[in-house]
């Protein structure tokens, strides 16, 4: 298993290089360092010297991918791409275009992101699995049919409506909780309740339906028939035999997104003005801050790959049949 993880981690390196190349290309193909400097310096102070100075301060005063001015391997290393990328691999994200320490920002903003994401995930899982088991238990009856239709209806509503509707109903009409905002410490809880509720509700439709299909898939298998032929109680058949097997795809499905929880939720954070990584990303996009975008892309890719490795590990834990090699 160790050898397997080492191999998968090594496989991540070419992927991350590819990711970097792609973002780099997308950004600089239209946005040369000169343009960036002009954008940031504003109209008034644009002089060639000022641009050069801005570029030099931020390490943009080199060729993009290939440096003809020097020789040997430096042709590749003395470039913006190389210098900006190598640091990423050491998780040194550098400074944003307005001079803030990105690593510090990320570390700070991770907390509110997780404060929304983790409760949403746990509560959501509990609710969705219960509902799915309920539907699977009543399979073929009207409870099941209408439940499935309700799920489809719920998943047909855009997340934006859930947010706007939730803010309007719970925040504005009923005045149960603040509409948006965030505070440090224990006070954060009252700001987090609404986003978590909305996060859970918006996921119920699709997840319940998916989990139900997992349950039904297992319910048709021979070993369930064996369990019934043993004369076991229906509750034992459901919880011990059915759930144990249906949990395999559920757990692995959750594990794969687990690392990505760190990235935060774009919509929730921005609607509720929570200073997490999701809103950080949106702000960066709107301000066209390449340093932050690149850092977030890199972070996202690393987390995605970690997720893939975690899934494989999770399989060996929940499914005795799987061994890694």
């Amino acid at each position: 298993m160790f050898a397997y993880i080492v191999r998968r981690a090594a496989y991540a390196i070419p992927i991350l290089i590819g990711v970097n190349l792609l973002t780099f290309y997308l950004f600089f193909v239209v946005n040369s360092p000169d343009d960036m400097a002009r954008l940031h310096l504003g109209v008034k102070r644009v002089t060639p010297e000022a641009i050069e100075k801005w570029k030099a301060e931020r390490g943009y005063n080199k060729p993009l991918l290939y440096n003809e001015a020097v020789s040997g391997s430096e042709r590749f290393t003395k470039t913006i791409f190389f210098e900006k990328s190598v640091k990423l691999f050491a998780f040194d994200f550098g400074y944003s275009d307005d001079g803030r320490d990105i690593s510090h920002d990320i570390a700070q903003r991770m907390v509110p992101s997780l404060a929304i994401a983790i409760p949403s995930l746990l509560v959501g899982l509990l609710i969705n699995i219960s509902f799915a088991m309920l539907l699977a238990f009543f399979r073929g009856t009207y409870v099941d049919v209408s439940g499935v239709i309700l799920c489809v209806a719920l998943m047909s509503v855009s997340a934006m409506f859930y947010i706007i509707g939730g803010q309007f109903l719970l925040g504005k009409l009923l005045r149960l909780m603040p509409i948006s905002g965030y505070d440090g410490g224990v006070d954060a809880i009252k700001f987090l309740v609404l986003p978590v509720i909305i996060g859970v509700v918006s996921g119920i439709g699709s997840s319940t339906r998916l989990y139900r299909s997992f349950f039904l898939e297992e319910a048709g298998k021979d070993f369930i028939r064996t369990a019934r032929a043993k004369g076991l109680k229906e509750s034992r058949v459901l919880f011990r035999h059915l759930l144990a097997n249906a949990m395999i795809p559920i757990v692995t499905g959750v594990v794969v997104i687990l690392p990505l929880l760190f990235m935060g939720s774009l919509l929730l954070e921005s609607f509720f003005a929570v200073p997490g990584l999701g809103s950080y990303t949106i702000d960066a996009i709107n301000r066209q801050d390449f340093a932050i975008v690149r850092a977030m892309v890199f972070l996202g890719s690393v987390l995605y790959i970690i997720g893939l490795i975690l899934v494989d590990v999770a399989y060996t834990v929940v499914d005795p049949r799987v061994r890694l090699s």
């Binding site: 990711v19 950004f27 946005n31 855009s158 934006m160 774009l266 892309v297």
Partner: protein, 469 residues
């Protein structure tokens, strides 16, 4: 005189229509291709969804026939000039909806503006009152008293029209069924009404009648009122949502259409060829997949915006510019979403490669290209179809989110995303302006729900594993 305008997305839409028509003609004689579609139509929810989707598609197609009208010119000999504004056939059909703009917000069926305005009387005094709308309820003498009766009367007319049209449709279906199944007219009618037909015609008829009722209501009411109110600049919200349908459909269909050849080719190739080709393709899609999709889309759209800012002359009209941006959005969404299908196809091809009928073909010395085209491709098409249909609703929903982030369709383009985006602020007003959001919600929800129900029916019909149950 008109000048037809074919936008890029129009061209692709009609290509799609041609492909679908071509396939339908091809499948007519092939029972194994026809059977699953019949199965879709036999499911109650499936047939309902098909009818609703058809209504949306018709509106979308009407809105995809673009032209530029000629500008009235008294000098007959001079060269004809065409308006800068590009119109579609839908614009002509809905006629006044497009042009009758009020000053600012007005509620659905209102005859007055939503907010008070200061009115200067001839005697110099000023009062603050709700001014009457320029178009909504203009025909009424005394709006406060007459509006309700007028609306009821018009609704009554619509109901009668619906009844007549519904009966006509029932008659047609019965006659057609009677001829096809060689039954007497009454026997056929009884079968339909008692739901004894394989295809649930009664359900289809009811769905159709509801749609007809809505259409007739719109025809009767929307000409006299703003049935869904007006927005900040006084534009009719009903018109906006109708125009948004095309945007939603384009995003939902063209995105998959664009990425489809690529995903199919790469997926099958990876699974069939294995070895280093497989490694390369896997590397490609893992890399693309690992980039957070929203960031990739944002980067690409920003790139396009910069390009457009630098080349303002490349586009003749604003619509053309918005259209290019829409197309580009489809492409970039396609790039981020082809990986899922590609991986599915790779897995299936790997499995099929070991299937005995493929081995049998190899044992006959059938060429690789033939094995792929005759054996593998037809046996993975159900996966392709299920994915396309499943993706559709997700893409329609994604459009709204992207527009909110600011990397969606052009702000000048009618889309549900843009409507919701502006509605956010309206919800914070006192009193609340709710109708834009409601309109977007209703139209979007109906489309996505129909698409989801349709995809369920398609999956039941095409997925061999589900079919056995």
């Amino acid at each position: 005189m008109i000048m037809p305008v074919i936008l890029w997305t129009d061209a692709l839409i009609f290509l799609l229509v041609a492909i679908v028509t071509g396939f339908a003609l091809y499948a007519r004689g092939k029972p194994h291709l026809r059977a699953p579609w019949h199965h879709v139509m036999c499911s109650r929810l499936g047939s309902m969804a098909v009818v609703i989707l058809c209504a949306y598609i018709i509106i979308g197609l009407l809105d995809s026939l673009h032209y530029r009208p000629a500008i009235e010119n008294s000098d007959a000999s001079a060269e004809t000039h065409y308006a800068v504004e590009v119109l579609s056939v839908l614009d002509v059909l809905v006629g006044p909806l497009r042009t009758r703009t009020e000053k600012t917000y007005s509620a659905p069926f209102a005859t007055q503006l939503f907010s008070r305005e200061t009115v200067q009387h001839p005697d110099g005094s000023q009062t603050r009152k709700y001014p009457r709308l320029e178009y909504g309820g203009r025909h009424l003498e005394n709006p406060a008293a007459d509006a309700r009766a007028d609306i009821l009367q018009r609704s009554g007319i619509a109901l009668t029209q619906t009844l007549a049209a519904g009966l006509a449709v029932l008659l047609l279906i019965t006659l057609w069924q009677a001829r096809r199944r060689q039954l007497a007219f009454m026997a056929s009618l009884r079968d339909i009404l008692a739901r004894r037909t394989a295809v649930p015609w009664l359900i289809i008829l009811i769905t159709l009648s509801v749609l007809l009722l809505l259409t007739f209501l719109a025809i009767n009411l929307a000409t006299a009122y703003h049935v869904l109110g007006t927005d900040k600049v006084g534009e009719d919200v009903f018109y906006q949502t109708l125009k948004s349908i095309r945007t939603g459909l384009v995003i939902g269909t063209l995105t998959t259409l664009i990425m489809l050849p690529f995903a199919i080719f790469m997926g099958i190739l990876a699974g069939y060829a294995r070895g280093w080709i497989d490694d390369l393709i896997q590397y490609l899609y893992t890399t693309l997949n690992s980039i957070p999709g929203i960031l990739l889309i944002a980067a690409a759209i920003l790139m396009l915006q910069v390009y457009m800012a630098n080349h303002p002359d490349a586009f003749e009209t604003t619509l053309e510019r918005a259209d290019i941006r829409l197309l580009f959005l489809c492409i970039i969404l396609g790039i981020t979403s082809w990986t899922g299908l590609c991986r599915l196809l790779r897995g299936e091809s790997l499995k099929l490669r070991e299937a005995e009928y493929i081995q049998a073909a190899t044992a006959f010395g059938v060429r690789h290209s033939k094995i792929i085209s005759r054996h593998i491709l037809p046996n993975v098409m159900h996966i392709v179809l299920i994915t396309v249909v499943l993706d559709f609703s997700g893409l329609v929903l994604a459009e709204a989110v992207l527009s909110y982030v600011g990397v969606g369709v052009d702000p000048t383009m009618n889309s549900w995303g843009n409507m919701i985006n502006s509605a956010r602020l309206e919800m914070a007003r006192e009193p609340v302006v709710w109708w834009s959001l409601l309109a977007a919600f209703l139209f979007m929800f109906t489309l996505v729900l129909a698409a989801n129900l349709f995809s369920d029916a398609v999956r039941d019909a095409f997925d061999p594993r589900l079919r056995q149950r």
